[in-house]
């Protein structure tokens, strides 16, 4: 556990952008107003699957308020190729096809054409004037349906890759991989208890409150300037450059303040379209999605069909595990099933494992990451099967988990071997937490039953490149320049890590998140990497500042060696604080500018667990959350309030996923609940206080021991709630969401 003492790290200073965000002054994407801005609107497919017979834009073009119309034909003609735009290798044609459909539409809400007009209202009216003739095709909406023989094919040219080898079969399965460790057949033969269950989970949305928005200006000097809401300005730059066949030097992306993302603002949707409209009209063009467009036309996270089989010895030793993971990618391949396979049994040391993953295209929006993408679905299966095994073996569910918990050196089925991780410490903290043994209390009425459940989850986190520049000012304050979109207070956590090195306070730092011309390449705010990687870059940049300041002091004092400790430079009798020296730098040399760019390795995974008490109304099937505790390994909590905030936010997203949220689809593939009224996310009234317990098992490679905490916290809540519902009612839940109808059905069946 963490023992080092710091002057700033671990404290809770106010965030640098706080005042702007409570006064309404902070500028988000939609708040930007360039002179002469036109408003864009996108025409979207009403059909889940259709051939585009023709698009007639004449009536739209002739409208007096219309300034430009674009379709997929307006993208430059470049041959298809594999590109990696921050989400792994993907054919360019698929990324482009999702922005504006060519030949076919693959989901209801698929963008088909776009217009720019003098007002948002006019743009919407003009988009409706575009005449599209569709030939509707049969659709498939779930992985099992899309995998069935004779299922309608989304992509005539998609060929399944099987175990890494190309096949010639046209299919909706883009990829089938298998991870094997040991001999699971032999393992199951040795098991005293085997539980095998099937699970389904619905498509859910990240539900960020700010819709996607971008303003693009194709400037008269040939440069394309973009201001947008994104988790990764460099991903936007690279994607737009790639889509429009421009060198990256022609594109500058300025990330505005962002109103939530959770993975959903990693992919690019409107920026290249706004750019094309700006090129055609010669004016800046802003496109802001409506809420309906966000739900129907951006990327939710996959629904899934999962089968998990686990075998245990009488003493609780897990001897074999098998998983079948079929994930719905939506319209284009990329269902995040590989991370699901990584996480499905990651919490346990099981010698014999076989994991099959299927990446399946269906006629729903092309999916995007959502907070530990893939892991929550998988944990719902594994953690409820384990609960059943604990029940059969009459073992405490946490004791069963502790007995088999992964630790340093445990190998996963994907081949990776864990470095120092905090799985055991998280489980021990859960077990010792007062919540775990507190009385459940009396049900609130005669038809109510109460129960408690637990589960754990894992997310491996990401490293990736980050850059940071520090400008030392004469008054001893430091301007910190970075490129990581700040979604939850990260600019302050990052500034604290530099300030810790420099012996400064958070208030001495002036952090800014800047555009792609102004800072070195920085990966997305995703994979729980920002505090870990950009914070590390800030630490290294601060070391660079210290080195330069020492040089200035040596010159000032005419000495060879200068020491720096606790914010004070010294040599013999000479002593100057950081601020005192900063004021005198100009006497002996150039301004001090610290720089660092890193390719952060070793993010270290994070484990998180949930303890939840529920009350189930067995007459209506409604489940209420009575008490919730989230335990997570943060490595080292830089700003504990923001770590707790991640834990609480992820937990409540997990509660929403567990109890309410789903894409409710008609048989024709129409989303029937495309509003926040019907896509029901938790409100303040639906949840209790979320207790947190931060575990600190330092990440050995990070200068401060940080592990990213953004994601693992969403993984366990649905499973923990399912286990709590079982404890209350005796019924096992195998479908998400566990809304009143599905709980009632389970009660009636069990």
């Amino acid at each position: 556990m963490s023992t080092t003492t710091y002057h700033l790290i671990g404290t809770r200073p106010p965030r640098h952008d706080g005042a702007d965000k409570v006064t309404g002054r902070a500028l988000y994407g939609a708040d930007l107003k360039l002179a002469g801005t036109l408003h864009g609107a996108i025409l979207r497919s009403p059909h889940a699957h259709a051939r585009i017979v023709s698009i007639d834009t004449k009536a739209a073009s002739q409208h007096p308020a219309c300034r430009a119309v674009v379709t997929a034909e307006d993208f430059p003609e470049t041959p298809d190729r594999i590109v990696d735009l921050g989400e792994g290798d993907t054919p360019l044609s698929y990324i482009r096809g999702n922005m504006l459909a060519r030949r076919k539409t693959l989901y209801q809400g698929h963008a088909v054409a776009a217009v720019a007009a003098t007002s948002p209202q006019a743009a919407a009216e003009i988009a409706a004037l575009i005449q599209v003739v569709y030939e509707p095709l049969p659709c498939v909406l779930t992985a099992p349906a899309a995998m069935a023989k004779g299922a309608p094919l989304l992509h005539g040219d998609l060929r399944c890759t099987e175990f890494g080898q190309p096949t010639t079969e046209a299919s909706n399965v883009a990829d089938h991989f298998r991870q094997v460790m040991g001999d699971s057949e032999k393992g199951f033969a040795e098991a005293d208890v085997i539980v095998e269950r099937e699970f389904t989970t619905s498509t859910v949305h990240q539900g960020y409150i700010e819709p996607h928005t971008a303003t693009a200006l194709w400037n008269n000097d040939g440069r394309l300037l973009i201001w947008c809401s994104t988790q990764g300005s460099f991903v936007v730059r690279d994607t737009v450059a790639c889509m429009l066949d421009l060198p990256v030097s022609r594109v500058r992306v300025t990330p505005m303040e962002i109103g939530g993302g959770f993975g959903g603002k990693v992919p690019v949707y409107v920026e290249p379209v706004a750019a094309l409209l700006s090129k055609k009209s010669g004016q800046p063009v802003k496109i802001t999605m409506t809420r309906r467009e966000v739900l129907e036309g951006s990327g939710p996270t996959p629904g899934s069909f999962i089968r998990v089989k686990i075998g245990a010895k009488q003493d609780g030793t897990l001897v074999a595990a098998q998983a079948y993971l079929a994930y719905e990618a939506g319209a284009y391949p990329g269902a995040m099933v590989a991370p699901a396979a990584t996480c499905v049994f990651a919490a346990y040391d099981i010698a014999n494992q076989t994991i099959d993953g299927y990446d399946v295209v269906v006629n729903k929006p092309s999916t995007a990451p959502y907070r530990a993408p893939g892991a929550t679905n998988a944990a719902f299966a594994t953690e409820t099967v384990l609960d059943e095994i604990a029940e059969k073996l009459k073992l405490d569910p946490l004791a069963l988990r502790l007995k088999n918990a992964s630790k340093e050196g445990t190998r996963r089925a994907d081949g990776a071997k864990f470095r120092r991780i905090g799985c055991v410490e998280v489980l021990e903290t859960m077990k010792a937490h007062p919540h775990y043994t507190a009385p459940l209390g009396e049900p609130s009425h005669a038809e109510a039953k109460r129960g408690r459940g637990v589960a754990v989850g894992f997310w491996m986190n990401a490293g990736l490149p980050s850059s940071c520049t520090l400008n030392v000012h004469a008054d001893g304050s430091v301007g910190l320049i970075e490129g990581s979109t700040d979604i939850g207070g990260s600019r302050t956590s990052i500034a604290m890590m530099a300030a810790e090195v420099l012996g400064l306070q958070a208030d001495d730092m002036r952090p800014s998140v800047v555009d792609t011309d102004t800072i070195g390449y920085t990966g997305v705010t995703g994979g729980s990497r920002t505090t870990f990687a950009t914070g590390w870059a800030a630490y290294e940049a601060a070391q660079d500042v210290v080195k330069q300041m020492k040089e200035r002091a040596a010159k000032l004092w005419k000495v060879d060696e200068v020491h720096f400790a606790d914010g004070v430079f010294s040599a013999g009798e000479h002593r100057l604080s950081f601020k005192e020296l900063a004021a005198r730098v100009g006497e002996v040399g150039a301004p001090v500018v610290g720089r660092a760019s890193i390719n952060a390795k070793g993010p270290g995974g994070s484990f998180a667990g949930a303890i939840v008490d529920v009350e189930v109304d067995v007459e209506t099937g409604k489940t209420s959350i009575l008490r919730f505790t989230c335990v997570q390994d943060a490595g080292k909590a830089i700003h504990p309030s923001y770590v707790e905030g991640q834990m609480q936010g992820g937990s409540v997203q997990g509660i929403g996923w567990a109890l309410n949220e789903e894409y409710f689809m008609s048989p024709e593939g129409r989303m029937m609940n495309a509003s926040f009224l019907d896509y029901r996310m938790p409100t303040a009234l639906d949840v209790p206080m979320i207790d947190t317990a931060i575990v600190e098992v330092p990440n050995p490679v990070h200068p401060y021991g940080v592990r990213g905490v953004g994601e693992a916290n969403i993984v366990s809540p649905p499973a923990a709630i399912a286990n709590a519902i079982h404890a209350a009612t005796g019924c096992r839940m195998r479908h998400l969401p566990m809304n009143p109808p599905s709980v009632l059905a389970a009660i009636q069946q069990c």
């Binding site: 309404g24 539900g207 960020y208 409150i209 926040f676 303040a684």
Partner: protein, 156 residues
């Protein structure tokens, strides 16, 4: 035909020209350049555009701009007293009650409406009054605590 609307905005007389179909949210953001009030859904379900209309909490996306003729509208831009933050604003910062911050203006207005009405609210009352405001980042815990702290500060 645009309509000339005169009203009181954050305590000061103000006027604007509105198309009859424009919502109050659009009028605030596009006609009056007060972009602190945010749009999250446009159909009254997320609460990000909450403002006070004659002291009543409303979602400004469901009010027409022309309806505010002669009325009093209070937005997030008017909460602070000059350069001094209102205790509610300060409590939201101190208690880390915002992450991305897009829902914050709406929560601040809803909190103001609550504390104007009930200076010493219980936790269930707070949760009820904030139930029309969606926050996807915080899980509401720190927001509820910030409201409790602000209420205590304002009573002191």
């Amino acid at each position: 035909m645009k309509v000339h609307v005169q009203f009181t905005l954050n305590g000061e007389p103000a006027e604007f020209l509105a198309e009859p179909r424009q919502t109050l949210l659009e009028c605030l953001r596009d006609n009056l350049n007060l972009t602190g009030t945010k749009e999250g859904c446009g159909d009254g379900n997320c609460g990000s555009c909450s403002v006070l209309l004659d002291g009543q909490l409303v979602t400004s996306c469901l009010v027409l701009g022309v309806e505010t003729q002669g009325q009093r509208v209070d937005t997030v831009e008017g909460i602070a007293k000059g350069s001094t933050l209102h205790p509610i604003q300060k409590a939201f910062i101190d208690h880390a009650a915002l992450q991305c911050g897009i829902c914050t203006p709406g929560f601040l207005m809803a909190t103001k409406a609550l504390l104007d009405h009930e200076p010493n609210p219980t936790e269930p009352q707070i949760r009820l009054w904030l139930a029309n405001n969606l926050c996807r980042c915080t899980g509401y815990d720190k927001i509820v605590r910030a409201v409790q702290a602000a209420a205590a500060e304002m009573r002191a």
